[in-house]
Subunit: 137 residues, 2 copies
DNA sequence: GTACAAGTTCAAGTCAACTTGAGGTCAAGA
DNA sequence: TCTTGACCTCAAGTTGACTTGAACTTGTAC
């Protein structure tokens, strides 16, 4: 586990599905780190792939690159304090609950017989939830 | 329910928490509609507030304004087909599962005793999940 | 030893989602 | 009447997250 090969940017690009330009951009922003150079060419530790996966996960979760950088510091050391992490977890949890309602609302909408969504009681519940949810984000 | 007052942009702004500029922008993009003008001034039906809440919900869920516009057509009529809605719901469901893992990972990280996250088995599980998740987004 | 694919830097461009600013309109109150 | 204040339009600016392009360098293959 964690076989630490050394990869050039093209290999990382292929393995991660990200273009090399993005990898350079991430490095510039301090999200990933190259372990050195061979000539001009960057070399990455293969562990960068896990880090990239984590970044993708965070992005998918709706965090900005800056927030992600804060969440998982480069060296993997706690940098960020526990209460902040807990707060992030709470945020995510809230998002999950909202998404659940949205998902159910969409599913219902897909099978709803009412002539217009506005006349459908389930859709109206979604609306009421949306109204309540808004503001405490 | 659905007391259809007619509101000016400032009132909508106050009630929704969005700046008037955003409301104009949304109207331009076809996300909301004003019901008319009094002189130059836009008038909105108070139902726009529910629509704005729905837009906020969709945004929070990570959808672009264009996607949201497609999801909930202006007139509330089904415009978008059922299988597409179901697919959206599936996407959201996938996101929810990923977020759950992320949340648990963060929570664990907050209380973890290991000197560095990389040495913590729970964090490593998060990593493995992230690696698996990446690519099938 | 030379060609070439794969890198490199740095500046500029793009796209979504807004925001800001300049200059104009209008209804209501002092 | 005149001055606010709330609204208007339209063009340009901003931020985040990248992408693209031009010009340059290198390690490997022939």
């Amino acid at each position: 586990m964690m076989r630490t090969g050394v990869l050039d940017i093209g290999t990382v690009a292929k393995a991660s599905g990200l273009p090399a330009s993005t990898l350079r951009y991430y490095e510039e922003k301090g999200l990933i780190r190259s372990v050195g150079r061979r000539g001009l060419k960057r070399l990455f530790d293969s562990a960068v792939l896990e880090r990239l996966a984590l970044i993708a996960l965070g992005q998918h979760a709706g965090f900005s690159l800056a927030e992600i950088a804060a969440m998982f510091s480069l060296d993997g050391r706690p940098q960020i304090d526990r209460s902040q992490l807990m707060a992030k977890a709470e945020d995510i949890d809230k998002t999950i609950r909202q998404l659940s309602v949205l998902r159910d609302g969409l599913r219902h909408t897909a099978v709803c017989k009412a002539p217009s969504h506005m006349e459908c009681p389930t859709f109206q519940r979604l609306l009421r939830f949306a109204v309540k949810a808004r503001g405490r984000n």
